[in-house]
Subunit: 410 residues, 2 copies
């Protein structure tokens, strides 16, 4: 399947001018594995964040919002830990998040509000802030430009593979790099399996323009793999742009430079989002669900999300069953008043359902079944009512999903 | 756990004055098992139905609506088949449904619009109406007052047990019986595992009053085990009231007689709904989720349904994990703007979470775990903002759910 991120975005190791990173073992929950990360920008960086909309919003999210407001959109460092989410921890949780940020600030000699924090792991327990603090001096001394693969490993929880993505684009007389790492899986209910992503770039861009493009990029990527804006207590996407690249400052997001940067950022986020889907808990298939021919993009999105979130649809995919009945029935309950007699459904280029009824053709069932033996599947539902479309990315629903989530306390 | 249906409603065999029923094998999809049912009222009966809200609405649903309108709320017979849903079958599907109803009408010597029909099974194929017709004479000759257990067996698809419920209430100088059968499982996404229920009563009641109470009863029962009004292509609840009992006609649903009848009908529907949850595909636990202390019942319902539908919450239950974090995080994404610092959570009478934070007590974890070793669990989330509440009934999410739904083409 064609991924929109195209060939420009790469995975694996990278470095971005002016950024250093380190990972360490705090032992606060996991033993003998990397579980905390410090990202530092050598220069003051424009910064922006997109956060969970869950009513139970973890302490690190509260603190990030507070610091980004106090700094008016600037940051120098991000501290991340895996193992304890610092969610549902009340005032004490916020105090501990604040204390860890202050410790980083004092070690780096910067303002506390220039430090952002993120956590993932078990909800409820207090952050073991003394364990975190004991490794901070080591983290600071271990900072290096090429530490991102270790960092991507350190932020994992139920993830099975570390996730990085990076790309470059010419901007003015120079080349800008945009790179990031992410953690997250559990694509059945991604809302509760915390999704974290951290992106850094050497672009020169104002905080306002950066915020504009981060919102756009997240909406086109991480929000296309979730359903109904569902989010966990800790979901966080952060970006720092440290202006190291010598191009003119981007102040207007719609300028050609702003657009080029936004395109690169979107590609990086989309690639990270796809990696999260592919690493879905127990997932065996990657499925893109496009709803087209809609009167509005919102109608298309609602139908696509209902299909992508249906456990009955997802278990059929796991069974390699070209079950169009469950797909159209899921579409029918999305709360969108389309005309069922104008609906058609395609598995890749195989039209299995046309104008509200199954297509009757000799080898159609066999061709449809062949599609569902693929690892990557594109299904397309045409509402036949307009010109708008939307696509969401999801995975199937396997025995292992149940096993992982019945056994893991998160 | 206390079920609201109380002790008045019984399960198993029953008969209701003036009704006869028969089941037979049409062989249209299943071999060597009962797969079709005919219910007949000796006298003209007031009738009402509640149907799927899915945009893809099966032919039998279309025909029921048409016949109930044409008859102004009267019926004499219901024909049901399992195996083929007659959904997404276009004009030809409707023609076949109509033809099967006409055949029943002509065999019984009644108006075609006095015959209601219902189907469950695979979506897409045309109803094998000739197979159905070939057993109709046998069905008619086999009609008897006590055939309901066979009938409840005949309408099953992925159900593992037949489901019947019946009760009686004094009304005026006499006693009225209300009894029914249902099929349905797949509680993870009940919307797509068709739910059918058929209720008969000897009460004397106008079609308007009957419709009023059926709506109320369904809302308090079958709608409490589904999520967001989700429905399959075929979901149908039908009732016939044949006025055989010699009490004064109920014309006002709010009269004391109307209320007594409505209470009995609700109890029967609630008991059938609970049986459907207990027979959830692969279910090992029955869970009642109450959200109380809400500003409105709608807010309570939205939070309860989000919790009850969360695969992460349901897999934790299967793992016997007293995982309050997933429950509160699901509540937090329900789209209801409650104050997280006023929320408390109870597993039975164990308060595990109070005012937005986990309770810290010596043996609390152990007491909470003990609750989740039970087969039946009541959890209660208090929003701390008002006096309204709502309860939904659901089950856990097991390996077998995935197995059943990866293997079964429905």
């Amino acid at each position: 399947m064609q991924e929109r991120s195209g060939g420009k975005v790469q995975r694996g190791a990278f470095s971005v001018p002016g950024f250093r990173v380190a990972a360490a073992m705090s032992g606060m929950r996991y033993k003998n594995r990397l579980d905390c990360v410090l990202i530092v920008s050598e220069a003051e960086a424009a910064a922006a964040g997109v956060f969970t909309r869950n009513r139970f919003c973890a302490a690190p999210v509260v603190l990030c919002r507070e610091h980004l407001e106090a700094s008016q959109g600037y940051a120098r460092a991000v501290l991340i830990n895996a193992g304890i989410a610092n969610a549902c921890t009340g005032e004490e949780g916020l105090r501990r998040a604040r204390r860890s940020a202050s410790q980083v600030a004092s070690l780096l000699g910067i303002e506390p509000n220039r430090v952002l924090v993120a956590s993932t792991g078990v909800i409820g327990p207090q952050l073991r802030v003394e364990a975190l603090e004991s490794v901070l001096p080591h983290l600071v001394s271990a900072l290096r430009p090429d530490g991102w693969l270790d960092a991507a490993q350190a932020i994992m929880t139920t993830d099975t593979v570390p996730k990085t993505a990076w790309g470059q684009t010419p901007l003015g007389q120079t080349t800008v790099t945009c790179a990031g790492m992410a953690k997250g899986s559990g694509m059945i209910a991604p809302d509760m399996a915390t999704m974290l992503a951290f992106v850094v770039t050497d672009a020169r861009i104002t905080p306002d323009a950066l915020r504009f493009w981060l919102g756009k990029a997240v909406n086109a990527s991480f929000n296309r793999i979730t359903v109904d804006g569902d989010t966990s207590t800790n979901d966080t996407v952060l970006i720092m742009a440290n202006a190291t690249a010598p191009h003119p400052l981007i102040t207007d997001p719609s300028s050609s430079e702003g657009t080029a940067f936004g395109k690169l950022l979107t590609d990086v986020c989309l690639d990270l989002a796809h990696q999260i889907v592919r690493d879905g808990e127990g997932a065996t298939k990657f499925v893109a669900v496009t709803v087209c021919g809609a009167k509005s993009r919102d109608r298309a999105a609602r139908v696509a999300q209902t299909i992508a979130a249906s456990p009955l649809v997802k278990t059929a995919w796991f069974g390699q069953d070209a079950n169009w009945g469950r797909i159209v029935a899921a579409a029918g309950r999305a709360g969108v008043d389309f005309d069922p007699n104008r609906v058609s459904l395609f598995f890749e280029d195989v039209c299995i359902f046309r104008n509200g009824q199954p297509v009757q053709e000799g080898d159609l069932e066999e061709r449809a079944s062949a599609v569902f033996r693929q690892k990557e599947i594109h299904i397309r539902l045409d509402l036949g009512e307009g010109m708008e479309e939307d696509t969401v990315y999801t995975c199937d629903f396997s025995y292992d999903y149940v096993k992982i989530n019945a056994d893991y306390r998160s």
